[in-house]
Symmetry: C2
Subunit: 212 residues, 2 copies
């Protein structure tokens, strides 16, 4: 049951959680099944059952899964019961988009600080937050004991900012910079490069290309 759980399984749990939250929001139903969930996600029901079985027995034969109960369990597994304060690095267009994004709330995160190295931007208001200078970043992170950061800076600054973040105690980084970060063991990185994602699809778009 427990043991060493594969990363790939962990990676699917947030998708299950998201689908369950939608089900809950739709109302109407109290329970769901691995089948229904699988249909929504394009994943086999067997896989969902097997994934969940790594963590315990959450369902009931004949009935399925109690939606709210499973949500609570997944949130506990993923350590989402408290709200993680997130340090956002970079106050450009992308930083703005992230700072104004309402989707963090109720899903375990809150942008707590925004840093930028441009003194022009310091003090600027971004949603509810004021932009701070990166020189204050490490001290702020250390004081708060923050663990999670989002990198929204140009590729040229990404590794340097990463080093500062890690040094200050950050152990989970979501980066939008189109570059591979080098981090010590124990620090987790998730990459989001829109171009890489687009390029993953063009292979399959063999036929006609385009007209200008």
């Amino acid at each position: 049951m427990t043991g060493q759980i594969p990363d790939i399984v962990i990676g699917r749990l947030p998708l299950y959680l998201r689908a369950l939250s939608h089900l809950a929001a739709e109302g109407g139903k109290i329970t769901t099944s691995s089948h229904e969930l699988g249909d929504r996600l394009g994943i086999s029901s067997a896989q969902i059952r097997k994934d969940l079985s790594h963590f315990g027995e959450f369902g009931k034969q004949g009935t399925g899964y109690h939606i709210q109960y499973l949500i609570d369990q997944l949130r506990a597994i993923l350590n989402l019961n408290a709200e993680w304060p997130v340090a956002l690095v970079g106050a450009g267009f992308l930083g703005h988009a992230l700072a104004h994004y309402g989707g963090f709330q109720h899903r375990g995160f809150r942008i707590a600080w925004v840093f930028d190295n441009d003194r022009e931007k310091v003090g600027q208001q971004m949603g509810p937050l004021g932009v701070q200078h990166v020189s204050e970043m490490q001290e702020t992170i250390r004081r708060a004991g923050a663990r999670v950061a989002i990198l929204a800076v140009p590729a040229t600054a990404a590794q340097e900012m990463t080093d500062l973040l890690v040094e200050a105690g950050i152990t989970a980084i979501l980066t939008y910079a189109p570059i591979n970060l080098s981090v010590p063991a124990g620090v987790h990185v998730q990459y989001s490069d829109p171009v890489v994602q687009l390029q993953r699809m063009t292979y399959y778009l063999a036929e006609q290309l385009s007209r200008p």
Copy 2:
């Protein structure tokens, strides 16, 4: 050599391409090795060699890979020699960030149109582009024969926009909406939900949570 190439292999090619481009930009070297590439990417050298072997023999024993040649080959494999015009749907903060992002150039894409359903935003200038109303979207896409789109709209509008895009001929969608899209077979979707990505890391952040 050829045959049916696994998606997971295709998914890594853009990473190889990106790393090679960085190597090329750094100058200094004409060739590289599977080992060097692997070190940079945190991937084993054997995997890189095996992945590339699906498409041909691009290296030379004792020497490694000619950087520019391999870049050219990968760009050809991924159909990146022409520039794909991309339809951006959603002119909010995220739409702005994408429209102003310089990273598409030289990597195979160009934001060619921006659509929004808010008449207030129509005509607004976003970088080099004017925002068009979604009512013009299908016609514009059809006329241009566009295949690629980026969805930067709220979750509530995502499925509806997807249906319009697919109907108009789009077959590759990168979406930032925190929702699973349902699309017909043959249409490719890449998902980017920052919250899901953060949640994939918090599992490993067991210890202390945070201070407000």
